[in-house]
Symmetry: C2
Subunit: 353 residues, 2 copies
């Protein structure tokens, strides 16, 4: 490499000018982002202009109420067993829509990049975003790129927002949960958090645990179709894990939940890693799990629907709503005791998503 | 300060646990974010749960097509003459909706915070978000908080996404622009970029230039009401300035634009600062200006509507569409010459928004 090859050397890194609103940003969007996300430029007048417009106009939404959500993603490292920040950003936002009963129809994608970030890694993240968006049936329709100087950010952050449609008649919420409702969980917990921690700290557990990160739109729809109006509340237990989701539901809905530890599926590798790290699997993040509160008479149908889907094969009924007014979660432990499940304070696992 | 006062000392700074998905995050949302944004928790069952839900369900949208946009904000410094990152984040997203003819109906708000960021500054930004959202008539309905360790980000970044509604019959786009269309500009250019640069570099220009950052929903609506179907295209010239907006329009619409330099309003303070910094005001960012391409017969009405609004008092007709097919912008200079206005490369002004 000599001084004269600097332009070639620069070519494989993100530059400040990629976020400057000028020609280089337009090139990045045209030549990297649009082709990878499967859009490309339509041939008609306006061409790429329509796609590069400030806002996307969604012309083919089905009837129903509009749902709207956002999340920023700062996971570290960007790539981990079973996924990466791109798959995470699409799945997380699709899942936030899914749990209010909405099918994701359009996603936004906004990058904050650190100057010098490798273009190859950016392309890899983009490809993952595109693939996951196709898997979820939710196209990326609008976006943004900002670049900060070296040291101003840690590589790459993503924000995704999402617009979905809630079909007529679907109404979910903590206020609908009632004593007797079953607590359904779509599969083993803690995989995402353990996968990210192992990648971050270079810890080799006995078996490699892969993140469960996946878009849950289909799975949630299957539960709603099978359980109908008996489906009262859904949540994807991410940061804070299953413990946070259940503790929040108990508080928001003013109900007491009883869950049975032995019924909560946890992979052996996750259990071993959690013991090593001193973590309770209940507080470890998931990115491809669904919790559903379903009336007693609809629980069996909803559980069967979960089990029939590839993402819910290990679904289980893990507990029930045992009372009203207490706002707490009681765990029946393996040892035969009972303890309260508290909302974690929040310091357990920074940058897990 | 002694070791025992550490908890009080911690209390005025953002902690990693504020982004951990647990109790501390919930407290931050309940006690800082919701009250400031004017929401608060409804008394009915579900209470705060409905607001803290993963997605907002928008129940009162008027008829029309849904528009959707996003932007991340990394402006440095966070506070500058005339505004701050909070006002910028709301205005930028509202304006992206406004220029496709959409009225903003709901905003999302997502923070990436650096551990140790002063809570007082966070509150100041939040207050500005709330105030600007009320000014724009666009409530914040959903959000997210992530915290990264010290050095992992530069203080505070914001992403806002927005959902708006485009009334029936409104269709704007580069493909609709035609020879003879007038180029209208709502006021003097370059204020935002110069205000941020002066704050960043501690440069004291002869007069303090204030950012023009403002939500433009009303102003855009006034243009559409006055100009009707004669309004063909609108844009808020942010990063890359007026030069980027016009160059992109010329390329996307396949038209030649001719603009007259002497008709483009530039404040004396901005002109002086640009001369000092070696910048062309045409490439300096604005955050409260509107460019509208309007058919010749509707131009006068649209210009009058701009001038009647407080944000468009200095509006001007600065040029016209002079041909088809060339995809370029010709500037008639003050000196009597002609030069092409190119899309800037992008390196001029990093972290301007």
């Amino acid at each position: 490499m000599t001084a004269t090859s600097s332009s070639a050397a620069r070519d494989d890194r993100i530059l400040l000018a990629h976020g400057g609103g000028g020609e280089l940003m337009r090139e990045l969007i045209r030549h990297e982002i649009l082709p990878t996300l499967g859009g490309g430029c339509p041939p008609e007048p306006g061409g790429c202009g329509a796609i590069l417009a400030d806002s996307a106009v969604l012309s083919d939404l089905p009837p129903g109420q509009i749902a709207f959500t956002t999340d920023s993603y700062v996971v570290k490292p960007l790539f981990f067993p079973g996924g990466d920040i791109g798959r995470l950003a699409v799945s997380g936002t699709v899942n936030d829509l899914a749990v209010v009963g909405a099918s994701a129809r359009a996603l936004s994608l906004s990058f904050i990049l650190e100057e010098g970030f490798p273009l190859a890694d950016f392309r890899r993240v983009l490809a993952s975003v595109g693939e996951t968006a196709r898997e979820a049936g939710a196209p990326v329709v609008t976006g943004d790129v900002k670049v900060v100087e070296r040291g101003g950010a840690d590589g790459l952050f993503i924000n995704t927002a999402g617009v979905g449609v809630v079909p007529e008649g679907v109404l979910l919420g903590a206020g609908r949960v009632e004593p007797g409702d079953a607590v359904l969980l779509s599969g083993p917990i803690g995989n995402h958090g353990v996968a990210v921690l192992s990648a971050r700290q270079g810890i080799a557990f006995e078996t490699t645990v892969e993140s469960d990160v996946a878009p849950l739109g289909e799975l949630a729809e299957a539960v709603l179709t099978a359980g109908g109006a008996g489906v009262h509340w859904m949540r994807d237990p991410t940061r804070g894990g299953l413990a946070a989701s259940l503790a929040e539901l108990a508080e928001d809905g003013g109900v007491e939940l009883t869950v049975v530890e032995s019924r909560i599926p946890v992979l052996a590798g996750v259990r071993a890693a959690c013991e090593l790290l001193g973590l309770d699997p209940l507080v470890v993040a998931n990115e491809g799990k669904l919790v559903a509160l379903v009336s007693a008479d609809a629980a069996e149908a909803a559980l069967s629907a979960l089990k029939r889907h590839r993402l819910g094969a290990q679904a289980a009924l893990i507990g029930y709503v045992s009372g009203r007014g207490q706002g707490r979660v009681v765990l029946q432990t393996r040892a035969g005791g009972r303890r309260l499940v508290e909302l974690p304070y929040g310091e357990e696992l920074p940058r897990i998503c």
